[in-house]
Amino acid sequence: MLGKLIKNQFKANASAVYNIYIAMGIIGIIMLILLLVDWTKWGDMGVGIGLAVKCLASFALCLAAFIGVISTLTAVFGEYSRTMFKNEGLLTMTLPVRSSSLLFSKWLVGSFWVVLSYVVFCLCGFGSTIYLIRHSMALVEGDDMAFTMYEMLTALVQEAGDAFGIVAPSVTVVLNLASIAAFVGGVFVCVFVLTVMFGITLAHCRPFSKLGPRLGALLYFFGSAFAICFISGLIEKIIKVYIFVSEDAYTFVVDPAQVSLAWSNGYAGMPITFVYCSAVLAVVLFLLTAVLIDRKVNVE
């Protein structure tokens, strides 16, 4: 049943956001076509117009990506509210499935779409920047764009590292660290999605429903998010755990000196307590939400 729930949930969310991704795809194709056009045929004015059009296209892409994030959030949480507590809840809540399965499917698929929208937004921003730089560097024949960018970035990191006594890590370490950072970002998005779902659910339970579904959901979301941050921060102050990233391994360490030493030797490290505590608290929040759905929620 969980598989079927996830499948249907995926379809439900996809139907709400696919338009924006189609729009982004169309804009991307237009930008590629614009790259192929030889604007110099029309002289300086042509080059200027080409640059303006490319800027507009890049802006449109970034805007579409931003709208994609907003519409994904709206779709995920709107769909959650509608299918759990409104008319569509009459169907959802009479399905022969556990409330925890129902919640899990909505949380998992919702988190996927939100993460995807963030990733797409970041890629669009990064891609548009590259796109515009590529245009301005078009006159530099034979330059490898990506290599140039990488050189610029590493130079920047090198300068910053020198200022703080940090040895620039190797590409492998940077990629390893990036994968850890991506994982941490994903965890935070999942915690965020779950916290909002908890807020919406609590806003539909008596006596918490007195604030109304929207204001209540907003307040309960901020309240629970604050509680998660506060508790996680408190625990982080007491128990400090870091992840040490080398070229071929991830190691957990508890001594901050080891992390400083790592950065001085071309390795990397980052604190992990906060994200770990947040994830644990999110699990508690998940169970609490499932219990609320099971015992307190009424479908209008």
Binding site: N87, E88, L90, V97, N298, V299
Partner: protein
């Protein structure tokens, strides 16, 4: 007291301003809000005072009775009296002065009436649910379908030391309590919305395999009750068993629910709705649903948002009736349907529910549907006003609609 006597106007004075005789015995609803008894009835309490005294003593007598119960002759005699008396199906309620005495007890004073005032001593047999008869004070109880008619078997005395079954507080159900005999067992169900009580300490049983009419005025709690039974409302108090199971995944798997408003997402096409049900309900018959859609003239690729309200209702009905569920909960299936289509929809319901399943139909259109009911449950003022088989109601010589009007009219007056 005669057949048409109504305690609401002619009965014994209520001791506490209780509303009506129609309160369900199972609910322990205090009875009648009534005018002072007429002069000719004033003699009755005196006559019945002896009964009342007998009632008070009955439990003790019961406890002292031998464990093997009353003699068969006595039981048969009781049975004959009862068959001719108020509990017998198809029998006209007797006059008050023909009220039989039951020497073997145990006797219970009818709730809301002080001892000696109520004209009957009501015998209480374990395992039998007693329900008030609307409008007929001579019929203080009826035998529930699924149980032997009153008098058909010898009353079973309680074991010494065991108190007689509480008339007003039915025993809480358990899983092993004849799960297949009742579609629903509801005990002490209460539900309020921000202090406004919708259902107040309601207890009743709905026998399995019946077509049940759930009737009541607007706001009486029909939809709330259906939603609770369907597992859509959770913050209530009381104990509920659906097909012998607590409300949960298992009960939902065997229950088909049709709400009184649309519940499919607008983006769904007809075929999506069918696929959705096929995904989640093992008892769903896809080909039957497709045939229904064809009969209804629904395009499989038409989206819900482009359908009229009537088409959406048809769509919901077709997917619900394409299931082979044990219980169908249909909330106002004819609510927004034109009179011409009602017959078609009722035909679809009547011809397609699973054999031996229970169909609960909530409706205001009593006249259109009363011929379909096997059993009637009327709600009002947060209580069960009537819970009885259709035969018993028909034996009164009145239509269900007439009884509905009497009962609900009283509820409205009180409100």
């Amino acid at each position: 007291m005669n057949d048409d006597m109504d305690l609401r106007t002619e009965g014994s004075p209520a001791e506490d301003g209780a509303d009506s005789f129609f309160g369900s015995a199972a609910d322990g609803v205090p009875a009648a809000e009534s005018a002072p008894a007429p002069a000719e009835d004033a003699a009755e309490p005196a006559v019945n005072a002896a009964d009342g005294a007998g009632q008070d003593e009955a439990p003790a007598a019961e406890a002292a009775e031998p464990a093997d119960g009353p003699k068969p002759e006595a039981a048969a005699e009781d049975g004959e009296k009862a068959a001719a008396g108020p509990g017998a199906k198809g029998q006209t309620p007797p006059a008050a002065d023909a009220a039989p005495k039951y020497p073997n007890g145990p006797y219970m004073v009818y709730p809301g009436y002080p001892a000696g005032v109520y004209p009957y001593a009501v015998p209480q047999y374990p395992g039998v649910q007693y329900v008030a008869m609307p409008g007929y004070p001579g019929v203080p109880y009826v035998v529930q379908p699924g149980y032997a008619p009153y008098g058909a078997q010898a009353p079973r005395p309680a074991a010494p030391g065991v108190p007689p079954q509480n008339f007003t507080q039915p025993t809480a159900n358990t899983d092993d309590d004849a799960p297949k005999q009742f579609a629903f067992k509801v005990r002490n169900l209460s539900k309020d919305y921000d202090g406004h009580t919708v259902l107040s300490d309601v207890s009743f049983d709905i026998p399995a395999g019946k077509i049940v009419g759930l009737l009541g005025p607007n706001g009486c709690g029909k939809t709330t009750l259906i939603k609770i039974l369907a597992g859509l409302i959770h913050d209530y108090s009381g104990v509920i068993k659906v097909g012998g199971r607590s409300i949960g995944v298992q009960s939902k798997a065997h229950l088909a629910y049709l709400p009184d408003n649309t519940y499919f997402p607008e983006r769904f096409r007809t075929v999506d709705c069918i696929n959705y049900f096929a995904d989640f309900f093992e008892d769903f018959n896809r080909s039957k649903a497709v045939n229904f859609a064809s009969q209804f003239g629904l395009d499989l690729n038409q989206r819900v948002k482009t359908m009229s309200k009537g088409m959406q209702e048809k769509l919901q009905l077709l997917v619900v009736m394409s299931r082979k569920a044990d219980i169908y909960l249909l909330d106002e299936p004819l609510g927004g349907v034109d009179p011409a289509a009602r017959g078609v929809i009722m035909d679809i319901i009547m011809n397609n529910y699973k054999e031996n399943s229970t169909v609960v139909l909530s409706t205001h259109l009593v006249n259109d549907l009363e011929h379909s009911f096997d059993h009637v449950l009327m709600l009002g003022r947060g209580k069960v006003l009537v819970n009885t088989g259709i035969d018993v109601l028909r034996s009164t010589g009145k239509s269900v609609e007439d009884i509905f009007k009497e009962v609900i009219g009283d509820a409205w007056e009180v409100n």
